[in-house]
Subunit: 307 residues, 2 copies
């Protein structure tokens, strides 16, 4: 057993898995810490595509941290972390989300409002003169492509582009755009998934003014084919809300080619959601033109509306 | 008016003032932000000695932030910040304390468990190839000397020593130990201070399990001469507790030459304080042998005991 486990959020996406692996490597080399990357769930199809492409093994899956000291990547809120977070010591955080964290000891934090944690890590490797192994560079490039939808999401910053281009070189990716489209498409194969898998794939739980709101998101190239399963999705949402005590469930379906979304909503707080997006729902469906980023375009207006 | 105000905690010490000045300079040069260093109180005698020595003007004093965006240095908790923190946007934090922060937007954070924020900033300048002006290097060296008691406090890390030696060179300090003793002694001139000034000089407010605890600290070379004013100090503590709603007041008197402390305690939670330090108080006096660091040796055991 290592001294520290390094992990991203529950329902891991490509940035969370890649950043856990990259951070573990960085800390082992920079600070000589004894760390191991783990994950709070099995990799999704997009991440699996990247892991296979760069021949990297998927991290072991845990629910509870097994070490006394841990490192959080790509999240800082307890609701998105291991179940025993309050029993362990957070030694370090690498993140690009809003903050909601408290502890009782000074710690390392590197947070920047950039498109992906992999971008932050690229500059940590560079500034500290730690060389990036090519397969880790490949995962980090995949993470940037995933989180920024190939540099097209509004979360994208100038430094994401710089980091992606440099990482693609180190990884030996001659054409990162071509690779990126393949990667994103690997994540949109939704037909074989159950409603539960669609809803849980990338869902996170948020607390806003005392209300518990579940927000899921899937990427697709065909929103209508997902919406054709609306009744079954609503039934599955009901079930999850009852089981887990969510007050609301917002399921965002994003067209990654045309940069648009539609969402299915279930819950008691429809009025706040309608106010957040200045639009009336049509039989549980909320049109979200131009919306692709949960973090930048979904969560902040909801928080404002729930205030 | 600048676009961002940069400030440290209330009751500013040398690290808080120096780090606000250094951070403002760093951000203006690195990110081309338009920032201005301000302070949440007038500099103490130690800080004034450093400002005069390096011919730097004291920052303007504010109580409320006057800009919509702000940068916090040397603190992250609302209780130690501007009175209108919840109305402004925190764009960045540079700190070395425990964390208790939440917001609604991704932001920049650089936190490390090192002896002073000035040490963190030294490496930010260095890693980003921003040259440090000699007078700012002098203030940063003073900050490290102040927070680590000339590298003798248990908060001191290897990197504090490296940073102090490099900064002393840039500042043209030929003998930083000699300068450091002068600086620390400038902060221990307590005889002309009223009881209120002693108590407020470096006091911070902490919330532990719903209790509001005020913890002050003075450095001295003669603990007994401070203790000879015990009755007047207790009367002043009572007054402040009543006025501000503090449940407890712990006033730590630290001998910087011999690295020991004694504290005067007033409040309802004596049992928790005695448990924290495994010692019985003797008529309001608590003996704290070997204790010099509030952050590392006073706050954590109290938090553990109040849990």
């Amino acid at each position: 057993m290592s001294e520290y486990q390094v992990f991203g959020h529950t329902n891991p996406d490509t940035d969370t898995i890649a950043s856990a692996i990259a951070t573990s490597y960085l800390l082992n080399n920079l600070y000589k810490w004894d760390t191991q990357a783990v994950a709070l769930g099995t990799p999704n199809e997009e991440t699996t595509f990247a892991l296979n492409y760069f021949k990297v093994q998927a991290p072991n899956v845990i629910k509870e941290a097994e070490t006394e000291k841990v490192v959080l990547v790509d999240h800082n809120e307890a609701a998105q972390s291991v179940t025993n977070l309050s029993d362990v010591t957070v030694a370090s955080i690498y993140d690009h989300h809003k903050f909601n964290f408290s502890n009782s000891d000074p710690l390392y934090i590197v947070a920047k409002p950039w498109g992906s944690v992999a971008t932050i890590l690229y500059f940590e490797f560079k500034n500290n003169n730690v060389e990036i192994p090519s397969e880790i560079a490949g995962l980090m490039a995949s993470a940037i492509i995933s989180d920024t939808l190939l540099l097209k999401s509004p979360t994208t910053t100038d430094v994401d582009k710089i980091a992606l281009e440099e990482l693609a070189k180190v990884a030996g990716l001659e054409n990162y755009k071509e690779y990126g489209l393949e990667l994103l498409k690997a994540g949109t194969n939704l037909e074989n998934k159950t409603e539960e898998e669609l809803l849980n794939g990338d869902a996170k739980t948020f607390t806003m003014s005392g209300r518990t709101i579940r927000i899921g998101q899937v990427n697709t190239v065909d929103i209508d084919s997902v919406l054709s399963r609306k009744d079954k999705l609503l039934a599955a949402m009901d079930k999850q809300m009852q089981k887990n005590g969510f007050d609301d469930f917002l399921f965002v379906i994003t067209d990654i080619l045309n940069s648009n979304s539609k969402a299915i909503f279930q819950g008691e707080d429809l009025a706040f959601v309608e106010e957040a997006f200045s639009i009336k729902a049509d039989n549980h469906i909320i049109d979200l033109p131009g919306v692709v980023s949960r973090k930048k375009q979904v969560v902040p207006p909801l928080e404002e509306s729930f205030k």
